[in-house]
């Protein structure tokens, strides 16, 4: 079998583990895509109800409080506290499998001051006790959004008072997490 045929067979089998570049999950629902679009211009935008004013997340088609269908994306404060924080040592997705191969992947649930609960990647390097991977419940954090390399906005949590005022500062944190570059497997196809 020629090299070309071998490669074609591999592609047909479509094994992500053989791909040269692996990226985070790209799939989103229509309101998930709206979240990305609304977050391009600001550090954090969340859905607000035009009737009762409730802020909500995850994005929905209607207001979870009053069921009003008229929602607007508005800039929101990313301040909140950690509900629970863990590191993942196992993943179902090739991108994270490769990242976890280098170091466990930290994630947390965070309760924002605007009373929504978000999942977020944790920028562990911004916390004092970097030695301790699991950041204690109640720790004050700030959450902002940034595009990952599958071109979706994802949320990133940093220690409160970490400077994230400029796009460059936020990008540097996302880049350090490894979210902005695909995970590369040098022997891949």
């Amino acid at each position: 079998m020629s090299k070309w045929q071998t490669m074609r067979k591999r592609l047909k089998l479509n094994r992500p583990s053989r791909r040269r570049y692996a990226r985070p999950p790209r799939q989103r629902t229509p309101v998930g895509m709206d979240f990305t679009a609304a977050n391009l211009a600001v550090p954090l935008a969340l859905q607000c109800c035009t009737d009762c004013g409730a802020v909500q997340y995850p994005p929905r088609e209607v207001c979870a409080n009053c069921l009003c269908g008229s929602l607007k994306w508005r800039p929101a404060s990313g301040n909140g506290r950690v509900l629970a924080s863990v590191t993942l040592h196992h993943s179902l997705w090739e991108f994270f499998k490769r990242r976890i191969g280098a170091a466990p992947w930290p994630v947390a649930t965070i309760r924002l001051d605007c009373e929504v609960t978000v999942f977020a990647h944790v920028a562990a390097q911004t916390f004092d006790n970097t030695a301790r991977r699991d950041i204690a419940a109640g720790t004050a954090v700030t959450v902002f959004s940034h595009s990952d390399c599958s071109r979706n906005a994802v949320l990133i949590a940093v220690a409160a008072n970490t400077p994230i005022g400029t796009r460059a500062q936020r990008s540097a944190i996302a880049e350090q997490l490894g979210l902005t570059q695909p995970a590369e497997f040098t022997g891949g196809i």
Binding site: V31, T109, D148
Partner: protein
């Protein structure tokens, strides 16, 4: 609430557990149904109601299965409620029989386990999952449960040794239940503690193994069952409540808290009168929540309760208090066959209460509490359901 008199449950079947299988859900559901009918001495055409739960039907549904199996039910339900699916099927079917809408209802949960199919189910589980939880590390259900477990440990001081109590006694039970996928593997505390890390405080033996398989039971009128003279048991009480306690920041209780008392009142008994407890054990912490919320101990006392309770089917443990728990080994040791896992506790309870369990038979069991929990949409499980089942003598 109206009682469940006049309705019985029979023909408990667990079918075809396998770690991986090229067969589809229809194969597992069809074969489970066949075994159910054979054990009850019925034919397809005797079944006039069909309740189906599955995650891997693909383009099929409960209604397309009627043609797949060439059946003509006059009552049908598709119940995609994960770990609560079996109990919800039981409640719906019981009411249909009482109302005369159907006489014999087959309730079946079944799923295949094609290569890498679990990834697809986890990635596309729901809109919230797609947009707001799966992109964060793609851990699947492990992520949300590791966060719930971490929070529970911080809040109530539970340790890994406490969770080991649940996993180890269940493995002992599975060692006596031939159909369990881990039947042949004993588990020691050392093995449990030194297992591979999966997510946060969760290690290998805290997580279920996704697999293929089917579980099913028949529900029929008492009269019909007597006519067939098949072993059966009764529903003493049952309840459900979904997305309860939605104001809690992190899940540490489920809807059971709101109806546990009503369940005991309707059955005329208390937690101490329960001979067997079957909880939905996708992770040990979830079993602990159910023990607390169903009144076996107070909130936060789950760790102390499992330390002091022998949960083996044969009461061979050193602890003084005895409560056979997940007597076939639960999903942690039998395997999680998708939606079938939501039927496992009921099917095992019917076997126990009718004396058909085999090597893992609990002696003198007359009342079983079965509990279900399911559907991690985002940060918590949404479904809760529970039932107290009684042997024919109760």
């Amino acid at each position: 609430m109206k009682d469940y008199s006049g309705v019985v449950i029979a023909a408990p079947i667990s079918f075809g557990y396998a770690k991986q299988s090229p067969r589809g859900a229809n194969w597992f559901i069809g074969n489970t149904l066949r075994e159910m009918l054979r054990s009850a001495g019925l034919t397809k055409d005797d079944v006039d109601g069909l309740a189906i739960s599955s995650f891997s039907l693909g383009a099929d549904s409960a209604i397309t299965l009627t043609q797949h199996f060439q059946m003509s039910p006059r009552w049908i339900a598709q119940l995609p409620y994960g770990g609560a699916a079996g109990l919800i099927a039981l409640r719906r079917a019981a009411r249909a029989i009482q109302a005369g809408d159907a006489e014999v209802i087959a309730c079946v949960g079944g799923d295949g386990a094609a290569h890498r199919s679990f990834e697809g189910i986890a990635a596309n589980f729901s809109n919230f999952t797609i947009d707001a939880s799966f992109p964060y590390g793609a851990g699947g259900p492990n992520t949300a449960f590791s966060l719930i477990t971490q929070h529970y440990m911080e809040r109530f001081g539970a340790t890994r040794e406490d969770f080991a109590r649940i996993a180890l006694d269940q493995r002992y039970n599975a060692n006596h239940y031939p159909a369990a996928l881990l039947n042949h593997k004993p588990l020691s505390l050392e093995q449990y503690l030194s297992a591979r890390r999966i997510a946060g405080p969760l290690h290998m033996f805290d997580c279920v193994m996704p697999c293929a398989g089917g579980e099913g039971f028949l529900m029929l009128s008492e009269e019909r069952a007597r006519h067939l003279s098949i072993p059966c048991c009764r529903i003493l009480s049952a309840g459900e409540l979904h997305n309860a306690h939605r104001e809690d920041d992190v899940q540490l209780r489920g809807g059971w808290t709101e109806y546990a008392d009503a369940l005991y009142d309707a059955a005329g008994i208390g937690p101490k009168d329960i001979d067997i407890l079957q909880t939905y054990d996708d992770y040990p912490v979830i079993s602990m929540l159910q023990m607390e919320d169903l009144g076996f101990c107070a909130k936060g006392e789950g760790p102390a309760f499992v330390r002091d309770t022998d949960m083996r089917f044969d009461s061979s443990g050193p602890q003084e208090r005895k409560l056979p728990h997940n007597t076939s080994g639960g999903q942690l040791s039998v395997g999680q066959a998708g939606s079938a896992a939501g039927y496992l506790g009921i099917v095992e309870s019917i076997r126990q209460l009718t004396g058909q369990a085999g090597p893992n038979q609990v002696s003198g069991a007359h009342r079983a509490m079965v509990s279900g929990f399911g559907m991690i949409n985002y940060d918590r499980g949404l479904c809760s359901a529970a039932a107290i089942l009684g042997s024919a003598e109760t």
